[in-house]
Amino acid sequence: MRAFVIRTAAFAVFALVVSEVFFRVALPAAELPAGQFNAEYGFRRYDPAWKSEGLFTSGRHAQIRATWKINPQGWNSHRPYLNEKERGKPAVAYFGSSFIEGFRANISANISPVMEKQAAGAYDVYNFGMSDSVPSEHLNVARYVRERFAPKVMIFFCSPWHLAASLVPAAGRQRWLLDGDVVRPRKVVPLKNAALKAVAKRSALVRYLVLNARWRPKLRPGNGGGVVNAAQSSGGPKYTPAQLKTLAEYMVQRAVSENPGIQVIFVTGGPHMKDSPPTLSTVSQLIADACKRHGATHISLLPIFHADWLQHHKRFDFEHDFHWNAYAFKLVGQHLHAVVAEMLK
């Protein structure tokens, strides 16, 4: 028995070592920075001290490989963020989820470098995208950004399911509570970074299983699932158009009223890779209506993506991953520059 146990354990160690080497050298597992909770403002960003550069890969065979870089302020960006005095020119800040955070494109191919290239030094662009973050958090980040960096323009990327996901409680995340037709922020439960989790993040095998293979082991049937996905999937909470209208109204009203003197833009809609014309989703329409009421600008990306699709028939995402690719970032960056440049004139 003892020999069997020792042999089995020895093989397990051997297999782990081989797997670690394999997923570091032959097929690199995704690397991600560590999240850090900012208790003062109530949002998550990345910890630059943990790891400031890395290679993100996506897919079982690491089909997507892109570099990322966490700047000293804790965001995926090619540049450090400077306050108004240091930079001496206007700044544009944008907020969103993993779609615009940009781990699936090289750090030099994200929306912010594309816009800055277009601007030719006329303004800086700061990316405040963060995986799994939703509008309820974006407003907290916006407060921090306004106080620290005083941008002239704020761009909020909002996909339909992210609005509803703002109501799904999650540790370490600012969420809202919808009580009748009143929305108010929930108390944020700070996320505890478990030591075991930190060690697991160092393992290439664990990272491969969780990030590349998307393995979500469930100890009990019915457990698990990300918060964003919970709202996105058919099994997630359902909200009436009236409730969604309340949410959209609350979001836009707060974004505008809390950021006086700043041009506020809400961007909705994603890639439309069909020849047939796109239609605005209910949530996008609600956001567009709220923008009109509160003096914010609404941009739907649907016609932009659709026009490009008709012309080039080039994908804006990946076959196995519906996050945006560098081509989408370029297209969006160019379009946003056109809008922002006009605003900053």
Partner: protein, 476 residues
């Protein structure tokens, strides 16, 4: 609990440690542990159906004791009838009642009536067909005086619910498995190591081959009307390999798990797709079920010791019933019937299937062997179409579309990955066909052995479906 879920290795590790920790004491604590763990294993899926297993087990335990003490043939027969009625009654209620009600309604509609029969929504308890046959073998063998009834209730309950093979076999005979619950098990490192190897191979087959082919099979069978013969042939081949890897993968994990606990289960698959005729195929496919039907249906019908016509009748009845065992659908009945019909030429020619493995000691088969294997495989493919189809119309439409539209200008490259999975699996199994299972590499030097294991582990991680998909045979 699924073998390919995260719960199972944790559960097995706990059971393994506790089980062998109880080794020095009497047999009873080990059997109690097996019983409790088996009920937890089953109850993890749906605890409500535990009562059904317990009820079925208690009935057969009691009947077994009564039958053993009874001398009167008439009373023994009556007791056997009760066992058959209870077990087959439960099976009929949960598995076949809806089918019979539906078929009756269809028939009455066909005759011009407008039946208003109730629609039944009965949940099929997982593994009911398997444990029912296992417990039936106990009472039938006592009736035949092949075995003595056990007085050890715990051992009997553990025998019926033994978790490694509870939900999808191998269907063990009481004469083979029950005595193992009465004998002290000793830990055998070699046997346990081989058990782990077999489990690893079974898991590889399931999550890498079967689960990857499943998606392609679903697409092809669902959209068959838009596809050509080449694509539909790929669909049939993929399903043949899917069901083989799914089911034999389960059996391998079951046998391996049992070996870790010091039990020997019967071999359930022996590289069936290398069979040279349908007789050999059925000696290599789902062996525990084939032999069950041979012993409890075919032989009581008269078996082979009758005229050719009666033998043909017996084999067709046996296979048709076997098809029906798989599921309450005419597709399974026809699948069984078709396999029975495949036997007819062999019986008319009085041909006995070869007893040895094909091309022993040679790397490649000779042309005659290759041809025989190809024909047998093609016959099974045809039958698998019925097995996989939703209904008879679907099966016939699939076959008609394949035969009438051999080629369409569609993208066939989407089937490349499926063909690679099939090709690699068959190549590995061909090289190992004289062994008990494809990862039976105990004779290789340690570095090569470990490389083989690591390759299997990496294949699971890189290509496997890690979402714990159910095994196909759970529905039977």
């Amino acid at each position: 609990m699924l073998f390919n879920s995260i719960q199972f290795p944790i559960f097995l590790a706990l059971v393994f440690v506790l089980y062998w920790a109880l080794d020095r004491r009497s047999l009873k604590p080990q059997n109690i542990l097996l019983l409790v763990s088996s009920y937890i294993f089953y109850g993890w899926w749906d605890w409500r159906f535990l009562s059904l297993i317990a009820f079925s087990s208690l009935i057969d335990y009691t009947i077994g004791l009564r039958m053993g003490a009874e001398q009167s043939a008439r009373k023994r027969k009556a007791l056997l009838s009760v066992s058959l009625a209870v077990n087959l009654g439960a099976l009929g209620l949960f598995k076949y009642l809806g089918f019979f009600v539906g078929s009756t309604a269809d028939f009455l509609t066909f005759l011009g009536f407008q039946p208003n029969l109730p629609t039944l929504h009965i949940i099929l308890p997982v593994g009911i067909s398997f444990y029912t046959f296992q417990t039936l073998s106990y009472t039938i063998d006592i009736y035949r005086k092949k075995i003595e009834p056990t007085r050890d209730l715990v051992a009997f309950l553990a025998f019926v619910s033994f978790f490694p093979q509870l939900v999808a076999g191998p269907i063990e005979r009481a004469s083979a498995l029950l005595p193992q619950f009465h004998t002290r098990r000793r830990f055998d490192a070699k046997r346990a190591s081989d058990g782990l190897r077999q489990m690893l191979w079974g898991l590889t087959k399931k999550v890498v081959v079967a689960d990857n082919l499943a998606g392609q099979v679903d697409v092809i069978f669902t959209g068959h009307a838009e596809l050509d013969g080449l694509a539909l042939t790929c669909g049939a081949i993929f399903f043949a390999l899917q069901i083989y890897c799914d089911f034999s993968g389960y059996s391998d994990i079951a046998i391996g798990t049992a070996r870790l606990l010091g039990f020997d289960l019967m071999r359930n698959f022996a590289f069936p797709y290398f069979a040279r005729d349908i007789g050999e195929f059925w000696r290599r496919w789902h062996i525990s079920l084939s032999t069950w039907f041979r012993d409890y249906v075919y032989i009581p019908l008269g078996g082979s010791r009758t005229s050719t016509a009666q033998r043909i009748r017996n084999i067709i009845i046996t296979f048709t019933v076997s098809g029906f065992w798989h599921g309450a659908n005419w597709t399974f009945v026809l699948w069984g019937l078709l396999n029975g019909l495949y036997y007819v030429p062999l019986m008319l020619a009085n041909k006995r299937a070869p007893a040895t493995v094909v091309a022993v000691g040679r790397l490649l088969p000779n042309p005659a062997e290759a041809g025989a294997m190809a024909i047998t495989f093609a016959l099974t493919l045809l039958a698998w179409v019925f097995f996989r189809a939703e209904n008879l119309t679907h099966a016939l439409s699939y076959l008609w579309q394949g035969a009438s539209t051999p080629w369409l200008p569609i993208d066939h490259s989407v089937y490349t990955s499926g063909l690679i999975y099939c090709g690699v699996l068959l190549a590995i199994e061909w090289l190992q066909r004289e062994k008990q299972h494809a990862l039976d590499v105990a004779t290789l030097p340690v570095p090569l052995r470990w490389l083989a294991y690591v390759a299997a582990v990496l294949a699971i991680i890189l290509f496997g479906h890690l979402g714990a998909t159910e095994f196909i045979y759970f529905q039977f």
